[in-house]
Amino acid sequence: MNTQEERQLSDLLHRVTPEPPRAVTIEDVAIRLASEAARGRRPGGRTRPRIGPRIGPGRTGRGRAWVPVLAAAAVVAVAAASAGVATLLGSRGGPASPAGAVRGGTATPASAPASASSPAAQPRRTARPTWAPQSISGAPWGAELINPDEVAQDSLTGGDGSLYAVVSGGLDRIDPATGNVLRSAPYQSAPPLVGPPAVVGTTVWAVWSYTGHSVMLHGYDATTLASLASVTVPVAGWLPATAQGVLTAGPDGNLYLAAGGSVAVVSPSLRRVIRRITVPAPVVSVAVAPDGSRMYVSTSAGGQVFGMLVYDLATGKPVSSSSASYGGGGNLVATAGGVWGTAGTGMSEWTWFAPGGNLNRSVRVQGGAGGGLASVPTVSGGAVWIGGSHTLACADPATGAILASAAIPAAGGALQYFGRVVVVGRHAYADYQGDQAGRFGVARMTPPAACFG
């Protein structure tokens, strides 16, 4: 290093280059070698290697290559070969979180037609008899359990007169009148999901995988849940581990997807990315204003700090930014008055409202949730709804004022939780878990008239 300029460059490179989000382990290397062995390649062969194993049926030969044996023989690699998703068990301490910034996705094309291996919809296979609604003692707004299935937390959404929920192993379409499962589309291996599905017209779009280099969306017919299409969206940068609420439907009929350091706009009709808006940090969540003029993006800035960028969708340029240090920033929803989201992580969460998308003016609007449960705002039926384990509330979408709220009592010492609230007709529905009987499923409530303006 001879010159001052060289020393400055060296200093800059050391100073600015970030720490990696995860380390490479010897198990990663062993998997790489085993993968190459299965393909009959020598280590460091002349084909661009991929992250994680790409071994599948028909590639079972032992090949000529060198293969390793680990001293710590604790690695099991499970590759979802058809879906191109790798999940590591054992030495990495269990399956990768669906929301985690997992390394292991494989390179995929920018868009793809409906996969031949996509599961077909089928009527619900269940042995349980028709479920009679059960009251939830002491719960607010006359809550009753209308469906006893294990609904994934905060995955409930509504559209076209139906409810849609991610359950263990698949996507269900639920009749809001009876709670019966009308159709079911199984997920056989891909790790679902980050947030609820989004309904656009007669198609339900769900995030099928959210790992590695790409995000896969899958579209289902809203009535039959027949598999219609899949769209693979390349990721810019990396996917933050704190991503929550990454897919939303805009008023323009397009899907907005948080895809690492950008938001991808996906046309459901064209089934491809039609626009990409770059963001200067990994996107945690995205929401679009009801009039389509603004896009709100929360970003991960490390630690408890998160940022909020407001974009003019006409130009794709940011028009304002702010930050907050109370953590989270996920599950954004936008209303005429501003943006709402989840704060806090882990054991205590609550919902905030930022008028105009300015976090400097944000206010806490509700009691939130404890016990590791989420406090998720939704917009449905003309109001903002906020679930949790302390209070249920509806709020004015323009001002953030609480219109009505009700305490959620503990039942027999157990927390009761009402998650994502959606409205169909004059009823509100939420994924429910809790009470002393350990019940869970979909709850139906009759909110006060104040919630409907």
């Binding site: 290397v29 290697p49 499970v78 390394r103 291996s117």
Partner: protein, 192 residues
């Protein structure tokens, strides 16, 4: 023993590969990976601008080093070898004009997002500047000024002469000097 199981989307899990009798884990390799993977990944990020691709580079290099580990240790050159594989793999990808996913989420204009994004802005400006370099110049910058390799070590890693390394370095510095915003960063704009 090492197992690889395949979970097909259409079928129940089927064990398709069971490897027995392979070569054992060499002494010191695990410690090397644990100690050096962070620095290697950061070098990979500077080369590729992308964490998944950086991981790919590092895994490729370590996979190549494993079977030769004992020999590399005897030559006291394991890290040099790993960096050489990384650089050559990176240059090969570029030569083949690989068109897979490459991070494109670059900030169009630096600054303006407040302090919490200053570090992000600096990273994006740095990557944008490095993107302006031809692959060999970029490799020289990473090896010389980030990995702190000597000119002769850099030349050995890249398979070229010391004179070529000097030439690449001079041209790279000239290009970086002209990159928007980088001169201010080099003179100490942002601290981590």
């Amino acid at each position: 023993m090492y197992h690889v199981r395949v979970l097909s989307i259409d079928q129940p899990p089927v064990e398709v590969l069971r490897v027995e009798g392979g070569r054992g884990e060499p002494d010191g390799f695990r410690d090397f990976v644990a100690a050096r993977s962070g620095a290697l990944l950061r070098a990979g990020w500077l080369l590729t601008g992308d964490w998944p691709a950086a991981e790919d580079l590092v895994q490729t290099a370590l996979a190549a080093a494993w079977p030769r580990w004992e020999s590399l240790v005897r030559q006291d050159a394991p890290e040099l070898y790993v960096r050489k594989i990384m650089v050559n793999t990176f240059l090969r990808w570029r030569q083949r004009r690989w068109n897979g996913e490459v991070a494109t989420g670059r900030l169009p204009e630096a600054g303006g997002y407040g302090d919490v994004f200053a570090q992000v802005d600096a990273r994006q400006a740095l990557l944008a500047a490095l993107d302006r370099l031809p692959p060999r110049q970029r490799a020289v910058v990473v090896l010389r000024y980030f990995a702190d390799q000597t000119e002769s070590q850099t030349a050995a890693a890249m398979g070229c002469s010391v004179g070529a390394v000097k030439s690449h370095a001079a041209r790279a510095l000239a290009r970086l000097r002209a990159a928007p915003g980088l001169a201010e960063l080099m003179s100490g704009g942002v601290t981590s």
